[in-house]
Symmetry: C2
Subunit: 461 residues, 2 copies
């Protein structure tokens, strides 16, 4: 089955109209649940549910878990309470907790008492953590073993619990207080002698996260150590959940999206890709604060220009270089900021390396500045004739002044571009937040000041 | 063991000086190979190798595989041929192929004949694919099964081959021509009856990639379907490799770095994070082409300004609004471009949705444009007095003209921001390449034309 194949929708609707449960069940079990979920997304809520109701409970819960957040909430509104309760019992624990987090208060209050005590407790525990922490993304359906089991018994145990566990490839060894003692992989168990004890095989040096750790740090651990899952412990060193490799990948993708949006000064938090579904008004609310703030900063640049009005009316050619000056400053500053932000994000450099980084950026900036100065000088000398004011000074003199100003602008904006994210990281802010548009506006201001001052001083006016 | 704990280095060097193989072996097997590799990176090449030579071959190969690319190549230069050959035999197949790709030609020619025929062939096959394709990132050390095996025999087989396979949690069922028939997970095998046949348990609807598929598409499949590994087939439908979940995560991170760099107009391809190690001259070469190209485009903006010199000298206040106009156009354009690029990358929208997207962006742009126009109008009326030319027209009239121009600029730049990446995607270019700095420069030009023309027409001069 091809994902998102629109040709399958009419076929699906025909099957649905016929009410042939067996055919529907077969249709849905042939494809991957993620693909079936995509097909269902194209159907209206009531029809989508009627399709799901034809399918076996475990597969139904799996497909439902793959639906996007809004559709899940929409469908919960359609369903009867008993149906929800049955399905929720089959969902992965983290998906189930996420669903409850998104339900309206009264709906949640209505559903929770209908669940089994253990499920209710589990949801309460998983939803208790602050968004963005390891605790908020972990799941509680992991496998545990006792250290005194033999390998054969451990495999038998994993086999029994497999249907209800997110993964059985990693199992965690805990004591009676759920303190994490070690972990074994199913591969370890299969390679071991049948009567070897778990405590003899297990890895004691377990890599783990704390519930309150940042979700991205936890995901990066999974990436760095090539793990299938990362155990999460609470303040008492007790195992409370795991984060799986697929969730880690989603966290990293989500952080990427947020990084890019921060770079482009878009606020608002998305848990999933939602461009088309976000109403224009919400887009406006996400984007306008930064645009407005930066526009006000842009007005400051305007006042700087206004204060040099005399100089500008005397040398009209200066205005012609303002766009190039601003763009070049923004470009070189953004380049160094991006490289530094990325290096910080990948833990390649730390705020302590600031002088090494400034040293390297200075070298790059001097080369770029020299090159651009030559271009600007050429532009003035070859195409600058005829502008107001060019009669009183030689074109060469004006060219030198502008070239010098541009070179200085490149060097300062490159250094500011490297400095701002480092400073943000130092005071524990996200480096990405100070980048691109904010930076562009800042180097605009410094650039204009440098520009007019340099020209004034160089030409002696 | 804490990663990157600098306190461990003196301890390690002391152990190394004592030459106590047993203690060194214990030290290195206690930590995760990725952490040991980080510690070793802090040692000079010769000392690093002397440490590794104290360790068991399998662990040695594992730690070596975690070293960064440059250090691997550096160490290969130190080692004797027999030592390399022995270690290469133990490395994961994809890591081994990557290493050979990076070795200088003569070193490769020197080493290849010393390897076993099968290894040589394997390296030749894995290095034959174009960078950036699924073929170039896949590994060949996967497990296969025959469809006629029983579950018990299959588990026994996986157990035997486990030490040489990247994963045994997924096994692929192939026929005698290596054509991919299906796959089973170790969980499926463990849950099945002992004498159930593999062909009865296996999933026939396998999700796979072609060797020449883009590496990012392959990684996104692993992400979408929550896979541990994705099989890769060649033009004859034969299984030739797998891509594992950890490699998929690295691919996604790498693509993100490249996206961010494209957004900031930095060329050059990095396979790994290398900011500090990249010489300033290489940074210059990566960054200057775009900066220069954009500077030339900025000169075009300059010519536009120059052509309106008369207007500017008559109304000096117009120059004061140039920075705000340029910045605001750049900001709003970048915002819409970023959202569209991200939605395209996550397959949330396709180039066919262009009118829906333009419709949404138009709504957002009208709201943003209205808001910014009001701000600009207020700025002119309250702080614009006293500038040259403001005597001949009322401040209100000038304010209206500038506000209208700014509103038009916001709308056009937002639409251009959405349009350019869609157009790039349509002609199969990477959408990210047309974003931020290139876009900023384009909307600068359109913005200046809009600005001066609108003011001229509105004021009737």
């Amino acid at each position: 089955m091809t994902a998102q194949n629109p040709l399958l929708i009419p076929e699906l609707r025909k099957l649905l109209a016929s009410g042939n449960t067996e055919a529907l069940q077969e249709f849905c079990s042939e494809g991957h649940p993620a693909d079936i979920a995509e097909l269902i997304t194209a159907l209206p809520g009531q029809e989508a549910w009627s399709l799901l109701s034809h399918i076996d409970l475990p597969l139904r819960a799996e497909i439902f878990s793959h639906l996007d957040d809004d559709l899940q909430v929409e469908m919960i509104d359609i369903l009867r309470r008993e149906e929800i309760v049955r399905m929720v019992g089959e969902m992965p624990h983290d998906e189930r907790a996420d669903l409850f987090k998104r339900l309206p208060e009264e709906r949640r209050e209505d559903l929770l008492p209908a669940l089994a005590q253990a499920e209710r407790e589990d949801i309460r525990r998983l939803t208790a953590h602050v968004d963005g922490t390891a605790g908020a993304v972990m799941t509680s359906d992991y496998a545990t073993l006792s250290s005194e089991m033999t390998a054969a018994l451990a495999i038998e145990h994993l086999r029994e619990v497999a249907p209800d566990r997110e993964t059985i490839y990693y199992a965690y060894v805990v004591d009676k207080d759920r303190k994490l003692l070690g972990f074994v992989s199913l591969k370890d168990l299969i390679l071991a002698r049948r009567n070897a004890l778990v405590k003899a095989i297990m890895h004691r040096d377990v890599i783990f996260a704390h519930v309150e750790d940042d979700q991205e740090d936890a995901a990066r651990k999974i990436q760095k150590y090539d793990l299938l899952a990362l155990p999460v412990i609470n303040g008492k060193d007790a195992l409370v959940g795991i984060i799986t490799h697929d969730d880690a990948m989603d966290i990293i993708t989500q952080e990427h999206t947020e990084d890019m949006e921060k770079l482009m000064a878009i606020s608002g938090r998305h848990e999933e890709a939602v461009y088309m579904k976000t109403p224009a008004w919400d887009h406006f609310k996400n984007r306008s604060p930064w645009v407005i703030m930066l526009a006000f900063l842009g007005l400051v640049s305007g006042f700087i220009v206004q204060s040099f009005e005399g100089l500008l009316s005397q040398f009209a050619i200066l205005a012609a270089f303002m766009p190039m000056l601003a763009d070049t400053g923004g470009n070189t500053g953004s380049q160094s900021a991006t490289l530094v932000i990325r290096a910080l994000a990948l833990n390649e450099v730390s705020p302590r390396d600031i002088f090494k980084i400034l040293g390297k950026e200075l070298q790059v900036a001097l080369m770029l500045g020299l090159l651009l100065s030559v271009i600007a000088f050429g532009r003035v000398v070859f195409f600058g004739g005829g502008s107001t004011g060019t009669d009183n000074f030689s074109l060469e003199a004006i060219g030198w002044a502008i070239a010098l100003a541009l070179g200085l602008q490149v060097v300062t904006s490159t250094l500011i571009g490297a400095l701002l994210p480092m400073a943000a990281a130092r005071i524990k802010l996200d480096p990405a937040v100070v980048a691109s548009p904010a930076l562009t506006t800042v180097v605009d201001m410094t650039g204009l000041l440098i520009y007019f001052t340099t020209v004034k001083l160089t030409l002696g006016i």
